[in-house]
Amino acid sequence: MLNFVVRRLLYLIPVLAAVSLLTFLIASLLPGDLAYVILGDQATPEKVAALRHDMGLDQPMWWRYLSWLGQVVQGDLGRSFRTGQTVLQAVAERIPVSIELMLLAEIIGLAIGVPLAIACAARAGGAFDRFMTGGAFAMLSVPSFLSAILLIYLFAVELHWLPATGYVPLTEDPAANLRFFVLPALTLALAEWPGIMRVLRSDMIATLQEDYISLAKAKGLKPSRILFVHALKPSSLTLVTITGINIGRLIGGALIVESIFALPGIGRLLVGAIYTRDLIILQGVVLLVASGFVIMNFIVDMLYAVLDPRIRHGHA
């Protein structure tokens, strides 16, 4: 098992190197010289040249990449030339919002998707299964900006149960904080559960055909034990994969949902950085988010091993 973890950790090194290179290239190849952006109206050729020299922009690209990487490895991702905030400060300020949103969305999505998947698989082809499979397909095709607006209309405008937009830190007032998070989390969950349900449902149906399920029935086990102990665990590998991808994606912030609900998360930080051409923030945040995604996938790989002993022992 330790061997397995170390091996998977070593795989991370080239992946993260590639991530950092791509991030650097995206920021460097964007049109518009950073010195002009910073100097704005006051740009004179002398000032631009001086700033370019100060920032090392006159160096060759590979040199700039290596020196940037050197700083990144030491934990220095640079600072915004607009706000003076370092990338790490900006991210640290915003990431709790995105993580809370991600966690709530995944919990709601799994809470809807998993029981429905099990119920459908237990009676595959039945009326409930057909109805839910169709319903999930319909929900998959609803974009989140639409469900966000519908939810705001229903719960905020018509019923006045929940606030439409805004944010209170969790540390200030947990109850109010949760009220602000319900609608955005629900919006994301509405897009998540159909995928969760369809993947788990089809894996469960396949597992229920297995010989060992017949044997579990022949052993006289209770139907609930067959579903939850014998069938659910071997069926959840794909579920873990897509949940991991969802989480990795949402760590980077939900751009649209954070914007609609005015949540100050990573997504809004990124959108703001793009609008203001704050390339240092953009580059730093993209690198952090991409690394988070890669690490999330590593955790998913570890979870496979927890779920399936054959992976743990290096078979299969």
Binding site: Y212, G220, L221, K233, L307, D308
Partner: protein
């Protein structure tokens, strides 16, 4: 017959397929007394596995079962799911063909043994564990205590089949159905597993249905043999009577298809030519007639019923039974 533990009466299984209904089992009648062994023999696709699934009520969802499966005085086909569940694993146990797929890959061997024991017997975890160790010892697994925490993929095929047998024996069933228990195993392991089944069957005084495609397997181990072909029982007899004088040409052909030690090397095996009939297109006559070297006009028009032979308990379904004084001479 009233004392029989299992009595299968007019059991038929139909499976709907895109090409029409497939009659996998066709009006089969069999009985089995407590403590006895019945061998069910036939080639692939003859309906022997479907018959075992029909007894266990583990048929595919779309399959239609008719007839009665009387087990200890109850018709399993009409039992409530909850009563059936309490019977399965406890009085009625099964060992499947392929131990590579019949054990759950993500649960430990201990879990898979103990869950059966704790479901049916009122034992706490410690007692269930003790019993599991005893069972693994009984089926010949060394270091049983360590095995309990291992997963199926850490055991060899023969080992896994022993574990599957231990699970089947765990609640002292009255009837054990062994569905080709050695087909997926190494030849060297086959005899060991069959001897283990026979020994445990005698020791626990349980009845056993031994399903196989190999007449040699049932020869020394079954009290009675039923030969199946195209979903029907075509010959049924006490084992000694069958081997002394078989009447059905199909039985003879099955026996001839077993390789023999005394045959010279490179001699072609006398395989049964042709294939079993398409079960979705029933033939009007005897279903073996197209492949039978004794078949004559009548065989293609009418289905022979099971009729009694001169020996008690021996039945065969053939218009032209083999009348040979001594064994077979294929």
């Amino acid at each position: 017959m009233s004392g029989a533990l299992l009595s299968i009466q007019d059991v038929a299984v139909e499976l709907p397929t895109p090409r029409g209904n497939l009659r996998a089992v066709d009006r089969v009648n069999l009985t089995l007394e407590a403590g006895r062994t019945l061998g069910v023999v036939g080639e692939s696709g003859c309906g022997k596995t479907m018959l075992s699934r029909a007894i266990l009520q583990l048929l595919p969802k779309k399959a239609r079962l008719s007839g009665r499966v009387m087990f200890a005085g109850q018709d399993l086909a009409r039992l409530e799911p909850e009563s059936l569940r309490k019977l399965r694993g406890r009085d009625l146990a099964v060992v499947f063909q392929d131990p590579m797929t019949s054990l759950n890959p993500v649960l430990t061997i201990g879990t898979q043994l103990m869950e059966t024991i704790q479901e049916h017997l009122e034992l706490d975890a410690a007692a269930a564990k003790k019993r599991s160790i005893e069972l693994l010892t009984a089926v010949g697994i060394p270091a049983p205590e360590q095995r309990l925490t291992q997963y199926p993929h850490q055991c060899s095929g023969g080992m896994r089949q022993r574990i599957a047998i231990a699970i089947a024996l765990s609640c002292e069933p009255k009837l054990l159905i062994a569905d080709e228990p050695t087909t997926a195993l190494d030849v060297t392991i086959q005899a060991q597993i069959l001897d283990l089944l026979a020994r445990e069957q005698r020791r626990r005084h349980m009845a056993m249905i031994l399903i196989t495609h190999d007449l040699g397997v049932v020869a020394g181990r079954a009290d009675e043999v039923a030969v199946m072909y195209a979903g029907r029982v075509v010959e049924r007899a006490p084992t000694p009577a069958l081997f002394k004088r078989m009447h059905m040409p199909y039985t003879e052909a099955l026996l001839a298809a077993i390789p023999k030690l005394e045959t010279a090397p490179h001699t072609p095996l006398p395989a049964i030519s042709g294939r079993p009939p398409d079960p979705t297109r029933p033939v009007p006559g005897c279903s073996f007639a197209p492949r039978c070297r004794y078949a004559a006009g009548r065989c293609h028009q009418a289905k022979p019923d099971l009729s009694a032979a001169e020996t008690a308990g021996h039945f065969y379904a053939c218009f032209h039974p083999i009348r040979m004084a001594e064994g077979i001479g294929a």
